[in-house]
Symmetry: C2
Subunit: 339 residues, 2 copies
């Protein structure tokens, strides 16, 4: 059957047959963005999305440790100890028993910073996957998840709902962090082919830490149970390809009510999305990006336009993209030596 | 696709073509028991199980109102205003605008009282379905759910996780009570044919009200989110027919820890079930019945024997049955007049 537990393929997807280890001197890993939470699945559900991603080129260097040739964005730290890609890559070296290896990393950010599109997770995944590929793939997916979690914890918070889909692709359920128990859920062709994921990024900053601080420490039992039912309905709808059930299953009573007041225009953008035919809409991860799900690209485009207009009416500039689930996760490319 | 929302068939399953309304003077409805919660799905998930059920024979009588000819058990109230079957039947008359109709109900209890096997729900469902059939089926499934909820609320508590599977059959997700939003999830043939549901009823009494009083009013956010992930994993496993995922998905961090101390022998019986090969085990509804899931009847029998032995080792007598999902829900039979 389509669902697998953490027993995933031992190395991420490669676009070509890897060359012999001695030639693996340059590797590029590209990791997709993701929608964390997907509405009700706070911290436990994530969906990888196609299109923009973060890329890391890794090459060996004579000196041990990690050198950050390019951090990928002027606002990102150049200190490897504080950059998600470098932390994850170093953690891969450590876990692989390759502490004597030196790596130079060049990061290219395709995802927005602090956008709620899984950017820090994608940087970590790309860094970890590139380092692992350069070593010949000693770590399996579970160990890579752990390496990336260390990076995400350092820069954004201890959660896997962006890491896991960015690494594995598709829809991923995070059942436990200790031990890491992650389930990649199968998406039927109808969902994979038709689901439009609308991402609208308002010109706002909301650091993940702020978004998390807004969350309640405890929730009334009734809310917890209702939320569980919504997550189950959402997962059942996506796994069974049931569009009718999907409509209405993106309903979050824990994070969205806490974070919406921090995000001017979100409430209006969500209402506009639903009025324009979205099956559901909520905050992507901890925001500020708002997402919506729609059936078909054309519907997605209408929803995107409605959301941008709603933000604009509140005086908030925004950019939108309409994309689709990414079913592959991180891609590895073996490059020729630089010179 | 297999999943449907509350838009279910407008009347429950009948075993024969209903006769013309004037001849509908006696009807028997038999409603199956159910496992409420199914582990993590407290109040939101229920599974109908085959075998024992509660039966209600309804016939018209000249005087308006409900007469309880037989309450079904010496410990059940003979006052129609306090009996689940009669409350539900009266609610059906009211909702159907048939307040001038008189009904005589004869209840036969196949399910244990206060057992945690959905007995009060089955009595309500059988009473409501029999009354509805006698009227010619004016109420749809949504209205029948509402009628049964009124009865369950009066005798056991306001929840639908036994009512809905007993009425509809199969695995049912309760997403909301106000308004009633219930989703019947499709079970693939492998699950429907092979899943063994083990029910072990210890000689203990735990009233539903006591079981509910033990529940925490609020839960830490992390627990709520972990629980949501388990419900989603359980639903995904059952809907996708993934046995590997099912193993380990019956994990409840909210109700079971609160109720287990009230149920001597449960912890040992659960451990014995898992050691004997069960895929999962927890308390059925609010107990005292313990349930376990296993793959195949033979495995179910081994698990049942191990659980009974574990209770016995704690000095608790118990009876076990090994059954399977019931996919039909309440059955209606039109009877010939009594004389």
């Amino acid at each position: 059957m389509g669902i697998v537990l953490t027993s995933m393929p031992s190395s991420p997807h490669t676009t070509q047959r890897p060359p012999a280890p001695r030639d693996r001197v340059r590797v590029r890993a590209v990791a997709p963005g993701s929608v964390g939470n997907v509405g009700p699945g706070l911290d436990v559900l994530g969906l990888a999305v196609a299109g923009a991603g973060d890329a890391v080129v890794a090459e060996r260097r004579p000196r041990t440790g990690i050198e950050l040739v390019d951090a990928g964005h002027p606002d990102l730290p150049t200190d490897p100890a504080r950059h998600a890609s470098a932390i994850a890559a170093l953690e891969v070296l450590r876990r692989a028993g390759a502490g004597d290896v030196g790596l130079a990393l060049t990061v290219a950010k395709g995802l927005p910073l602090a956008g709620g599109q899984g950017g820090s997770a994608a940087s970590a995944v790309a860094g970890a996957a590139a380092a692992n590929a350069l070593l010949g793939g000693p770590l399996d997916a579970g160990a890579l998840l752990a390496a990336c979690l260390a990076a995400e914890e350092a820069v954004a918070g201890r959660h896997l709902d962006n890491i896991a889909p960015s690494l594995l692709g598709g829809l991923v359920l995070v059942r436990s962090l200790d031990p890491i128990t992650v389930t990649r859920l199968p998406l039927p062709a109808t969902i994979a082919d038709e689901l439009a994921v609308v991402l609208v990024h308002p010109a706002q900053r909301l650091r993940t830490a702020e978004g998390r601080a807004a969350l309640p420490a405890s929730v009334p039992r009734e809310v917890a149970l209702a939320q569980a039912a919504q997550v189950a309905a959402l997962v059942a709808a996506l796994v069974a390809g049931d569009w009718a059930l999907l409509a209405g299953a993106v309903e979050d009573r824990i994070a969205e009510p806490a974070r919406a007041p921090l995000l001017p225009g979100f409430v209006e953008a969500k209402a506009a999305a639903l009025a324009a035919g979205a099956l559901g809409s909520s905050i992507s991860g901890s925001g500020p990006t708002a997402f919506a799900l729609a059936r078909g690209r054309a519907a997605g485009e209408r929803v995107a336009a409605a959301m941008v207009a709603a933000y604009a009416a509140r005086g908030v500039a925004s950019t939108a993209r309409v994309t689709a689930p990414d079913l592959v996760g991180v891609r590895i490319e073996h490059l020729a030596p630089a010179d």
